[in-house]
Each structure stands twice: as C-alpha cells, then as structure tokens.
C-alpha cells in the first residue's frame, strides 16, 4: 500500500499540519511503510467478531459512567487562560474568521 503526494496533501489538510512539497515525498515513503505493516491484518477473517472498543469490556460494563448534570467545578478561567498564546477580556484571540 503506498500513498501518492496528492493523498499526503489531503491527509495533512485534514490533520491541519502544514507539509511542504519537499517534506511530502519523505512523508509518503514513511507512511507507506507503516501502512504496509498495518496491511498485514487485512487478510484476517473477522466475520462475526464484535469490535473491542474498551480494554475491559469483557470484565466490566463498557458503558461510560455519567455524572449528574450539575455545575461542580469552580470558575478558574484566569488560571486556565494564563497558558493561552493570546487572550483579551477573558476571550481567546484568533484571526478574524467572519468579515
């Protein structure tokens, strides 16, 4: 299984990672290697096997525990925004999206 440069650009766009034309060829080669490894599982007959989404679904209920729909956390907005690259008036700043 190998990927061409156009597929690499599409995946990189979906993942929001800039890949230069120079990097794209290397990326295609290394991703093709990984997909070759992954391809080994394609031949396995898994008819009738339930997918296993949770490591312990045979041991414990795989249903996610839900908490009560009630605000319990204190307001720590200032502390949380201290690590943001750009904030103003308690809001995160990003480039203008809507003109």
């Amino acid at each position: 299984m190998s990927l061409d440069l156009e597929q690499i650009r599409r995946i990189a766009r979906l993942a929001r990672i800039a890949v230069s034309d120079a990097e794209a060829a290397d990326t295609a080669a290394s991703l093709s290697g990984v997909l070759g490894l992954i391809g080994e599982m394609q031949a396995v007959d898994t008819t009738g096997i339930e997918p296993m989404a949770h490591a312990l679904d045979a041991q414990v209920s795989s249903a996610q525990r839900l908490r009560e729909d009630k605000a319990v956390e204190p307001d720590r907005r200032t502390a949380y925004q201290a690590s943001a690259p750009a904030v103003q008036d308690g809001l995160y700043l990003v480039p203008r999206v809507v003109e």
Binding site: A15, A18, Q42, V44, A55, L56, Q59, Y92, V97
Partner: protein
C-alpha cells in the same frame, strides 16, 4: 542510602537517622552531577523539592508517618504539575505550566512524597528509544551510546543511575516495561483503569495507563498503593474497593503455574535474552513452580493492530493542540486555517506528525471499516488468546523485548523496525492486562535483560509477589552501572 529500598529509606526517616531534606539533597546532588551526561530530567526543581521535603519533615515531627512520607519521587513529564512546567517532551508544550495537578501527582502529594523533578520522555510518549524528545535523547546509564528505551526512558534512566529512588511512567504499548528492561529497573503497568488518567496527557486513551518504576517489586507495591484508586474525573477509572498491593509479597511461589507462550520464544529473540529469561524461569521451577507451554496465536497481529488504534486515537486526542488555548502558536499566519497548520507543523516533531497522519488516514472517509473496525475486532481475538491461556496458568512469562538496548540511531531511520520491537509488550496493552518487567541478568555486552510477567486482570499483587520472591534470591535489581558508582 542511594541504593536503599523505599522501606529502608522510610525506616531511616522514621528513626530520624536522616531527614527528608537531607535525603532529597542527596538525590538532588546526584541529579546535578549526572544529568548533564544522561539527560534523564527535563526539569529538576530543587527549591520545590526541598520545600516538599521540609513539609514532610514537619508532618513527621507532628507524629505523622507513612510509607512514602518524605520519599523523593520523579515524575514522567506527561503528568501535569501545577506551577512546574509540563512539556510532554514536545516543543508544543515547551513553556506550558498546568493550572492543576494530575490525579497521580495529587495522590503522591497527599502521601507526603517529595516531587523531585520531571523526567524526559519520547515526545507525547510516542517512541521506544527516547530519541524523539524535543529536549534531546536520554542516554542509557549502562552504556551511554545505547538508548534507554521509551517512552518512559527518562524515568528508567533516573532510577537506573540512582538519581531518583523511584519514578512514575506511563505505558500505552510497552512504555514502562521496555525502558525498565533496557535499564535494569523494575516497572509495572497495571490493569487498564486502575490508575486515573486525569491530568496525564493523552496519547491513546483506550490503552494509556500510568504505573510505577523503581528498583524492586516491594517498592512498586508501595508506590502503586498510592497511585491506584477510583477517580470520578477519569470516565474509565474503575470503582473498585482499594487493595493493598503488598499483601502477597511474601507468598511462596511453589505451585505457581507459569505459562510460556511459544510465540515469545521463537526466532527473532536474541540468544542472550532468551538464555537469561530461561535462567529466571528455571529458578522459579526450582522453587516448585510448574511451567506449561501455551499459545497466543494472534501475537504477530498485535503490532499492526496497535499501529491502527494508537495513531487513530492520537490523531483525535492531539487535535486539541491548535495554538488557541495553550501550547505553541506560529509567529506568522494569514488566517485561522494557516495558524492551525503552521502551529502544529512547528510544534510537533517528526514521529508525532507521522502518527497523527496515519491516524487521520485510517479514520478518514471510506477507510474506517477496513482499518479501525478491523483492528478493534482483532483486538478482541488477542484478548481472547489471553483468556484461553489463563485457564491453564496463573502468570505468563517471557522476554519484555526481543533485544537488549540498541545503539542510538540504530532504528531512527526505520520506524517500522522500531515498532516491531514492541511485539511482546503490545499484546497485554491491547487486552488491558497488567504486566511487569523484572531485571533478570545481563547480555554479553553488559546490558540488562528484563523478564516480563503478565497476569490476569487485577492480579498486580500476584505479579509483585512473584517478582519479590525472585528478587529476594537475586541481586540484578540492586546492581548499579560501573560508570555511575554510588
């Protein structure tokens, strides 16, 4: 005191032979002396450590005590620590200071342990050699040209060189067990769900599990007693009654049924590794344990399955690093889309990008059934192999890795070759089972070999028992590298 067990350290603190401040200074001195060479720590915060130590001494002066009160512990830099930067080995988080502590950090704090520093790791825990850290590679104390393993390689090297009495690690596909094996220390990956993931930066959420690393199994039991336990803030944390993981340490191993999977002793395992593991198994037989040959027929599928599931989950988890709320933001961009793309391209290293792209591909439209769903189905077959095996045995033994520590750079050009080195640790991770690495000797180059013991769900106390009995008769776990004498 540098090579003492945690219980010996605790006894010395309790009898006032040493204070926590003095003990902490001893390890801080060792870090100051050796870290330039080994690069095991990303951040060693001496003032904070000494403040914790003074607080522990004050608690003891008021009559309090506890197995970890005043004991210095190093933490993998994946655990968020309020007020001390948490980098996850990445440029993305090079300046990130968490506004809260991880659950594991809070538990150690409550137990009175001293936070010695934050250890180096593969970037976002993605790697098996500790060469992908933004903060530079970690060296193996047993041979500085060799890797320490990964991704918890900084914690492993710190314990191996006695820069810390104990450390925390995390294991997604072997990241506690393999570096423990490569550096001659002891480490346990608990059953999935036993240790809360709250504040532990996510890589692959259905696999990630924190665990302790230290010199011996008795130390790990004391550490796990603090780390384990229910936490409502992690939706996969298991609500079970607390256990004393040290309760079975002294149980004899006579009658223990040891399963030897034929897939773990075949071609591809170094002769020295196989020989040391077999020596250890013979010791158990000499104590009255019985061996039984078992089969884990889907072993060879574990690596391909893992390299679908882990990158898929990583691509989703790491989408949070967008340059908006925390982490690196590019200096120049024309619009929001370019800000995302450039911030992520600059902030992530090559291996992390590779895994995000693989994960994005396998989850993309039209491929989900062929990759992600197929991998989840085979994951069930792999878990089924283990449940069949545990009908015949109490513990499974084999090598942790097919080789001892390899030379730095040996695998870095070929990711698939490096991935295949995790063949014996990934299966237990996929099944959610506990596993540990126990030092069991050295190869002809003087590099440590690790014996892996895998147990059934929630059998951590039994694994620690088995390791402790072996360690009472052997001294592999208390040997110190010649280059770093005490």
């Amino acid at each position: 005191m540098l090579n003492a067990s945690l219980s010996e350290m605790s006894a010395a603190l309790e009898s006032r032979k040493i204070s926590s401040v003095e003990l902490t200074q001893l390890f801080l001195g060792r870090i100051a002396k050796l870290n330039g060479e080994l690069n095991a720590f990303i951040t060693a915060d001496a003032p904070r450590a000494l403040k914790d130590a003074a607080a522990a001494d004050a608690r003891r002066a008021t009559g309090q005590s506890g197995p970890l009160l005043g004991i210095p512990v190093a933490h993998k830099d994946i655990f968020c620590t309020e007020g001390i930067r948490t980098t996850c080995g990445s440029k993305m988080l090079a300046d990130f200071v968490s506004p809260y502590d991880a659950h594991v950090i809070s538990r150690f704090g409550a137990a009175g342990a001293v936070l010695l520093g934050k250890t180096n790791m593969d970037e976002f825990a993605m790697g098996s050699s500790n060469e992908s850290s933004y903060f530079g590679a970690v060296k193996n104390p047993w041979r500085r040209s060799a890797v320490p393993g990964g991704s918890s390689g900084g914690s492993a090297a710190a314990v191996a060189a006695r820069m810390a009495p104990a450390a925390t690690g995390t294991d997604t596909g072997g990241s506690i067990r393999q570096p423990a094996s490569f550096t001659g220390v002891c480490g346990v990956k608990p059953t999935y769900g036993v240790v809360s993931r709250y504040g532990m930066i996510a890589f692959a959420s259905s696999l990630d599990q924190g665990g302790p690393m230290g010199k011996g199994a008795a130390d790990l039991a004391a550490l796990l007693n603090v780390m384990a336990g229910f936490d409502a803030r992690d939706s996969t944390s298991l609500d079970r009654p607390p256990e004393d993981y040290a309760r079975d340490l002294e149980r004899p191993v006579a009658g223990l049924r040891i399963g030897l999977p034929r897939e773990y002793f075949g071609d591809g395992v170094d002769a020295d590794v196989a020989a040391r593991v077999q020596d250890a198994i013979r010791w158990f037989e000499g104590q009255g344990a019985k061996t039984v040959e078992i089969t884990l027929p889907n072993t060879k599928l574990a690596v391909p399955v893992y390299y679908v599931l882990a990158p898929a989950e990583a691509s989703s988890n790491l989408s949070r690093f967008d340059g908006v709320r925390y982490g690196h933001r590019a200096a120049e961009y024309a619009d929001l889309y370019e800000m995302y793309c450039k911030s992520r391209a600059e902030g992530f290293g090559a291996e992390v990008k590779r895994r995000i792209l693989v994960g994005t591909y396998v989850l993309s439209h039209g491929y989900y059934d062929a990759y992600y769903l197929q991998a989840q189905k085979i994951r069930r077959l792999i878990a089924g192999d283990f449940s069949d095996a545990f009908a015949q045995c109490d513990v499974i033994m084999g090598p942790v890795a097919p080789t001892t520590a390899y030379e730095a750079g040996a695998m870095s050009g070929d990711p698939v070759k490096m991935y295949l080195g995790d063949i014996f640790t990934i299966p237990a991770s996929l099944a959610g089972l506990p596993g540990m690495s126990i030092p069991c000797g050295f190869d002809s180059k003087g590099l440590p070999v690790g014996l892996q013991a895998i147990g059934n769900y929630f059998s951590e106390a039994r694994l620690l028992n088995v390791a402790h009995q072996y360690q009472k008769a052997t001294d592999w776990h208390i040997r110190v590298p010649d280059a770093f004498p005490l």
